[in-house]
């Protein structure tokens, strides 16, 4: 206790003059990693797995702090304004890109408020329905949905949720607007899908894999380029006849803009190591996903991803005309 206190004090003195030296000392006290969502959800789980492993590598505990609310923008806003000393980080998902369009007034400038550490993972999504829904495969689902667009119901977990984004993309691909039934979170939406109250939805494998395997819900396709290893029998959207229906819930680690490049470098290296940690790899596989490659777990790759995703989703969201504020 006393020792780490002394180290922190020393780091503080050194930091006043020498950024380089500060980076060498870094990290000398626990790091906070903000998750902009409630504890217990898939993003929280991803964060805790990565934080545990990175903490071991850096020799300091990484404390996960859940700052939920307003579709992740509260937590992101908090980190944007935090000290640029590398002790406050953000792990956010695709919502970082979509909230730039979903929210017309954000308390931060998405592209200019953060430094980038790297991509973490891209969780695949699955198009699923209640177990007794008539269509047998994706092709007949599209036909059925088009023919019965006044009858079918699409569930999602609220504005800005992964299931909402996936639904918008699906509708724009099949060029048919559908009735959506919004829920507050995936839990209640999944309950009603299992309970056959709604017809279909699209959600991350983290939420759907076990329900699919146990036959409580039916899977039509994954939204990935390759099949998902944990669901070998489920075709990709392209295989099933809907090319371009691709969406993954990518996660990235950010730091406040102006963090020293040495610290960012240290964090990136640590993230890359964590993504090779056998425990992390195994748990990610259990969740139906895999760690990002070393080339993707870099600041440049994350920046490129964020920029391209903002451009990709802006027209889809604008076309749907749904905003979160």
């Amino acid at each position: 206790m006393l020792k780490s206190f002394a180290a922190a004090a020393a780091a503080l003195i050194v930091a006043s003059g020498f950024g380089q030296a500060q980076a060498q000392e870094y990290p000398s006290r626990p790091i906070t990693m903000v998750v902009p969502f409630a504890a217990g959800g898939p993003t929280d789980t991803v964060t805790r797995l990565v934080a545990e492993s990175m903490g071991k590598d850096l020799g300091q505990q990484i404390v996960v702090e859940n700052v939920g609310g307003a579709g992740g923008t509260l937590g992101a806003g908090r980190v944007a304004k935090a000290d640029k000393d590398g002790y406050t980080l953000l792990l956010h998902h695709i919502g970082m890109a979509t909230s730039a369009t979903l929210y017309r007034k954000l308390p931060y400038d998405t592209l200019n408020a953060f430094d980038y550490v790297g991509l973490v993972t891209e969780v695949p999504m699955t198009l699923v329905s209640r177990s007794d829904f008539e269509p047998k495969d994706l092709k007949s689902l599209v036909e059925y949905v088009k023919a019965n667009k006044d009858k079918v119901t699409y569930a999602n977990a609220g504005v800005g949720a992964a299931s909402h984004l996936c639904g918008m993309l699906f509708m724009s691909k099949i060029e048919t607007p559908l009735t959506t039934v919004p829920y507050k979170g995936t839990g209640p939406a999944m309950t009603d899908l299992v309970g056959k109250q709604v017809d279909f939805m699209c959600d991350q494998t983290t939420n759907t894999t076990n329900q699919i395997k146990s036959g409580k819900i039916k899977a039509y396709a994954t939204t990935t380029k390759q099949r998902v290893p944990s669901l070998p029998d489920v075709p990709t959207a392209e295989e099933a006849g809907l090319p371009g229906f691709e969406v993954g819930i990518w996660h990235g680690v950010y730091a406040p803009k102006g963090t020293s490049p040495e610290i960012i470098k240290k964090l990136t290296t640590s993230l890359q190591k964590a993504l090779k940690d056998p425990t992390v790899v195994q748990r990610f596989a259990d969740l139906g996903t895999q760690p990002s490659s070393e080339a993707d777990a870099t600041p440049d790759a994350l920046k490129a991803k964020l920029t391209s995703e903002i451009d990709r989703w802006a027209p889809v969201i604008k076309a749907a005309g749904v905003y979160a504020d």
Binding site: A38, A39, T45, Q211
Partner: protein
């Protein structure tokens, strides 16, 4: 189904469960969990969600069963502890103990804090034991029941809950209705679920998800109570001097048996329903007791039934809310979401397969619940004397301490300083309500149920494409609505009559 075979299988499963739960390490962590749960339950504002979130990293290195047993212990332990502050200082830490505060605090004021606490502990133990057996016996069929509840059914259930909440008031029915409506209005604050439009947020992003329940509850109950106490010095001394006995009398025991049984039954059923079920259970149990009592006028003035029934109901509900999580892998509340997170981190995929793939874990957790409840009652009964003595702490020490703990607790929910301003604002609102003789419990229920009522109404209407008859054509929904109508009639008729009598008396 072959009854005998089911029974043998159950015996086998429970045997497996107890052999897991009774491992020394699991017993130790079960105890640690319930102890921590009791403590955080007692500390106002700090809830099980924040505690479990903080402890999650520690459980990384445990066996899966051990970590789940401990985390579950924190959750139901907090249900025990939560009633303590509700009774002693009128400060419910959770929605479920808001009801306990109504009569529990009055009992404490009459010097009967000991019996009130003992009633809460014994009722909770009984309810917890029964609910554990229910989970073991009927988890799968109960899950099917929960799944039958679609948006239409939920809407009707919330309707029933709201109508019944008027009965929570011990004073004017009209004021209670006004409080329910005020609660509903407060519940409207936040993002519209369907369109994402912001309602009454005044441009604060912090309000986008609505007001924080803990902030509202701590404000209108706790802070308001402190303000009221500061004003009225005579009230304080009475409470300490009057402490007579710590243990319920024979009459108390007789009076609590039936309410405990009814509360357990109600709580067990409502707890299964994801979402509002567990919250409704304590409110519903209180309402039932007041309605069937021969002396309903005692309620709100220290009726022991008003403590026994809701406490049994909320503990039974807390226990059965594990059912959807254990059988489907779907969380019914934020705490269950955390438990699922804990399982994933341990490499267990929560879902329908847990019972068959990890029977020792599934049954171990269930068996540990019973053991944990036993530990809780043994832990809490001797502590009653200590808690009651807490009332003798000088108020110059107690009040600042309570406010500090409230602030920490509220902040811990979302790590958001905005919520602290909300506590202050609702503290003053609560004080104003006390002055106007309006009761906060119906307000709180309106606040909790309002958003669920609206969401489910709109969801049901969306699915039915705007067809209103959906609420009447579904048998479950129709039954609930008829019950609501009946309750409404019962609530209004006698009070209208009584009011008239009063008016006539005054005139005559």
């Amino acid at each position: 189904m072959d009854f005998l075979a089911t029974f043998t299988e159950l015996g086998h499963n429970l045997g497996l469960g107890f052999s897991t739960a009774a491992l020394p390490v699991n017993l130790a962590f079960c105890f640690l969990g319930v102890l921590l749960g009791t403590l955080i339950g007692v500390l106002p504002g700090i809830g099980p969600t924040a505690t479990i979130a903080m402890l999650l990293p520690i459980t990384f290195n445990f066996e899966p069963a051990t970590s789940l047993i401990m985390l579950a212990g924190i959750y139901y332990g907090a249900q025990y502890g939560g009633s303590t502050t509700a009774i002693l200082i009128n400060l419910p830490g959770e929605s479920s103990s808001a009801v306990t505060a109504i009569d529990g605090y009055q009992m404490a004021k009459q010097g009967r804090a000991g019996p009130a606490l003992a009633t809460a502990a014994l009722g909770s133990f009984f309810a917890g034991s029964v609910a554990t057996i229910l989970i073991a016996l009927f988890a799968p069929p109960l899950t099917d029941l929960a799944l039958k509840f679609g948006p239409a059914e939920y809407f009707s259930l919330m309707m029933l809950g709201l109508v019944a909440s008027v009965a929570l008031a011990s004073g004017s029915v009209l004021k209670a209705l006004a409080m329910v409506v005020l609660g509903l209005l407060l519940g409207l604050i936040g993002s519209d679920v369907n369109t994402g439009a912001q309602r009454y947020t005044l441009g604060f992003l912090e309000l986008a998800d609505g007001l924080n329940f803990v902030a509202v509850a701590v404000g209108v109950f706790g802070i308001a109570e402190i303000l009221r106490n500061l004003e009225d010095e005579s009230d304080r001394e009475v409470m300490v001097k009057k402490v007579t006995n710590l243990w319920p009398s024979k009459e108390d025991f007789k009076a609590m048996i039936a309410p405990v049984l009814r509360g357990t039954a109600l709580g067990s059923v409502l707890g299964i329903l994801p979402g509002g079920g567990a919250i409704l259970s304590s409110f519903a149990a209180y309402t039932v007791e007041k309605k069937i009592s021969k002396t309903p006028e005692r309620f709100g003035k220290g009726a022991i039934e008003g403590v026994a029934a809701p406490e049994s109901a909320n503990n039974a509900g807390a226990q059965t809310s594990f059912i959807p999580m254990l059988t489907l892998g779907i969380p019914a509340n934020p705490v269950m979401a955390l438990m699922i997170g804990a399982m994933i981190i341990q490499g267990i995929q929560p879902g329908p397969n847990v019972a068959t793939e990890k029977p020792e874990l599934f049954w171990g957790v269930i068996a540990s619940m019973w053991i944990g409840n036993l530990m809780l009652v043994l832990l809490n009964l001797p502590l009653i004397g200590l808690w009651v003595r807490l009332l003798t702490v000088p108020y110059t020490v107690l009040f600042p301490a309570i406010i500090a703990f409230c602030a920490i607790g509220v902040y811990s929910v979302n790590s958001n300083s905005f919520d602290l301003y909300a506590v202050s604002a609702f503290g003053f609102l609560g004080y104003l309500l006390v002055k106007l003789e309006c009761e906060p419990a119906p307000l709180l229920l309106g606040f909790v149920l309002g958003p669920m009522l609206e969401e489910n109404l709109r969801r049901a209407m969306t699915i039915s494409r705007g067809d209103w008859t959906v609420f009447f054509t579904k048998p479950l929904s129709l039954t609930l609505l008829l019950m609501a109508a009946a309750v409404l009639a019962i609530v209004f008729l006698p009070s209208v009559r009584k009011k008239r009598e009063e008016v006539f008396v005054e005139e005559g």
